[in-house]
């Protein structure tokens, strides 16, 4: 149908290797980008600030984690800790008087350095053992952040994000905060879209599939695993900083506890390992599904159709994350990205279903 491939000929390498060879895909991307850019004008402040903004920030974080889990095949159960390091260090750097642009990069770098420590565990152990050591590190970082006064101001304290300027403009109001988050998200997205086409991305894929086979063909698994941890932690730190400055505007240690790590992993798994669009879809489902379900159930309960206590309501998000992870792993291990892909492949050859691509 509209995905028609007729008339698309690749006569040059550059044309063959472009990101979206099908014109409809390019049009979709253009429309989405235009919508994202115009969203503050189209949507009410409520939708912008409490749905679109967190979705974009969490997509950025999910993309960073997906680089590690999807592309490099390393499991990471401590991503929230990495984000916490980025958030706290960026706030402290801005407070020290540096501009936000430098501070966020500094926060990202600090996250990357500490994320690399997580990565050193990956050099010695993998699979289950890596999962458990990153889990242990999540607890460790959590504890340090909440107990060291100089970082968080104590376990009960809230650290306000200071007012900040980007490129000389003061960032105040939902609209400016949204554009800052969007800019970061676009940069990270274009990085990840292109990773698959670089030698770096191919090396990561080789390490993911079989690390000693990668070593035999001359790809150093040590180096590339560490590089994957470095890049993904850098993105995580930046996403954490954006989350702290643009969405929460104040940080407490509980915003980055183990459940948040699991939420990030849920986004990646539900969305689809190793897929850019999957990270967006996964973040959307994991973030919005509990809200939607809560609203629905609350409305039903108010109408008296569904007798349900507060206790059940407050546990719906947990049940939903768990259920989504388990359900997707059992029934669609490649996540929402695969669902999207199936649809697209169906329409690619429609109505000639027998002509499988």
């Amino acid at each position: 149908m509209f995905y028609r491939l007729a008339g698309i000929r690749h006569t040059r390498y550059a044309a063959d290797r472009q990101l979206w060879p099908v014109p409809v895909d390019r049009a979709q991307i253009a429309a989405l980008t235009a919508f994202a850019a115009a969203a503050p004008l189209l949507l009410s402040n409520l939708y912008l600030g409490s749905y679109l903004l967190p979705w974009i920030i969490w997509s950025t974080a999910a993309l960073g984690l997906n680089l590690l889990m999807g592309w490099a095949g390393q499991i990471h159960l401590g991503y929230a800790a990495v984000m916490a390091i980025g958030a706290y260090s960026t706030i402290h750097i801005v407070r020290a008087g540096l501009p936000f642009e430098l501070a966020i990069i500094g926060g990202g770098l600090l996250s990357a350095v500490i994320g690399l420590v997580f990565g050193f565990a990956a050099l010695r152990v993998k699979g289950l053992y890596l999962a458990i050591s990153t889990l242990a590190m999540q607890y460790l970082v959590d504890w340090i952040v909440s107990h060291v006064q100089a970082i968080s101001g104590g376990s009960q304290a809230t650290l306000q994000a200071p007012a900040f300027r980007v490129l000389g403009l003061p960032v105040a109001g939902d609209m400016m905060r949204y554009y800052v988050a969007l800019a970061v998200c676009l940069v990270v997205t274009s990085f990840l879209l292109n990773v698959g086409r670089t030698s770096f991305g191919r090396a990561l894929a080789a390490v993911r599939e079989k690390d000693f086979a990668a070593a035999i063909v001359g790809v150093d698994p040590f180096y590339f695993k560490l590089l994957a941890f470095w890049c993904s932690s850098f993105v995580g730190g930046i996403a954490g900083a954006v989350l702290a400055f643009c969405y929460y505007r104040a940080v407490t240690p509980e915003q980055f506890n183990l459940d948040v790590s699991i939420q990030a992993v849920a986004m990646v798994i539900v969305g689809g390992l190793g897929s850019v669009i999957g990270s967006y879809l996964g973040a959307a489902l994991v973030l919005l599904a509990p809200i939607m379900l809560n609203n629905l159930v609350a409305a039903l309960a108010r109408a008296g159709a569904l007798p349900m206590s507060e206790e059940v309501l407050s546990h719906i998000p947990l049940i939903l994350y768990g259920g989504l992870i388990v359900g997707f792993l059992l029934f669609e291990p490649l996540g929402l990205a695969k669902v999207y892909d199936n649809l697209r492949n169906y329409f690619l050859v429609w109505p000639f279903r027998h002509a499988r691509r």
Binding site: I75, R124, L128, Y129, I132, S155, V265, I319, L330, P333
Partner: protein, 295 residues
């Protein structure tokens, strides 16, 4: 630093550690037979505690009946989980299996309080509150009972591994393909190991539930149990006892001396530190087999 203070901390710590070891037993049993990381063990223990509480309190069953039925329910719960979820994951990458058990942990952690109520429930299994006085030491009666029960159960598990069924489990843990070839049903063996993990979870849940009350925080036992399992070696049942005692002692003694200096809260740190140090020095643990695949 008087010696009695140390001895009291160490003694109570060792007993607590044995109760951790009971949770860790479930992780080790499953890893030994199928090589799957059972990150749902903490939540299984929580569900076990909830089930026994539910049988004993709202349904009004006598305590011994509630315990027996609860253990049976958890046995079949473990088997059902293996049959319905994990068997479909055979051949999938290890990330997927880990995430499946972790997802189940979250699912249970959300649904059990939603089903039975989030308030902490008291579960009295007939152990008094009075501490036992031993010389100058005060020993927590509940910990003592828990430690004894844990040792008995782990001993039973070790005996079980010498029975016919247990020999099959050991064969499966050695080599699944070879076990298949000599006519052992690998699926059944793995199912049984999950059932046993369910039993261990139920017992751990009952003991811990009687100590700290039944609510979702029981699932936090996972990280302690992981520390015990990793330190003892993921495929060593005997290692669980030694490592449990070690982790328990460390977890009680270190905060006893350091907490006054840094202002508290170091207890939560011990398990994570034990895990990380074990990973760095001896990833296969004290008694595990040294066949961890390294790059």
């Amino acid at each position: 630093m008087d010696l009695m203070y140390f001895a009291e901390l160490a003694m109570n710590g060792a007993l607590v550690g044995l109760m951790y070891a009971l949770v860790a037993l479930g992780i080790v049993l499953v890893f030994k037979s199928s090589g799957v990381a059972n990150l749902a063990q903490g939540a299984l223990a929580m569900v076990g505690a909830y089930v026994v509480w539910w049988l004993a309190d709202p349904l009004g069953a006598p305590l011994w009946a509630a315990v027996v039925v609860g253990i049976l329910i958890m046995f079949f719960f473990g088997r059902a989980f293996e049959r319905l979820a994990l068997r479909r994951m055979i051949g999938q990458p290890v990330i997927m299996v880990i995430m499946l058990t972790l997802g189940t942990e979250i699912l249970l952690r959300g649904s059990a309080p939603a089903l039975w109520g989030a308030q902490m429930k008291r579960m009295d299994i007939g152990i008094g509150q009075q501490p036992i006085v031993l010389g100058d030491m005060l020993i927590n009666r509940a910990y003592l009972a828990g430690g004894v029960v844990a040792v008995v159960l782990i001993g039973l598990a070790m005996l079980f591994f010498n029975s016919r069924q247990g020999v099959m489990l050991r064969a499966v843990s050695d080599d699944q393909t070879a076990s298949w070839a000599v006519g052992i049903s690998v699926e059944r063996a793995i199912g049984v190991s999950w059932g046993l993990a369910g039993i261990a979870a139920a017992c751990a849940g009952i003991l811990w539930g009687s100590v700290q009350g039944v609510d979702w925080t029981l699932s936090l036992l996972l990280i302690k149990a992981l520390a015990v399992a990793i330190l003892g070696g993921l495929d060593s049942i005997g290692g669980v006892v030694i490592a449990g005692v070690a982790v328990g002692i460390l977890e009680n003694v270190i905060p006893g001396y350091i907490d006054p200096l840094v202002g508290g809260g170091t207890r939560d740190l011990v398990a994570s530190t034990v895990i990380l140090l074990t990973m760095l020095v001896r990833p296969f643990g004290l008694f595990g087999r040294e066949d961890i695949e390294r790059v």
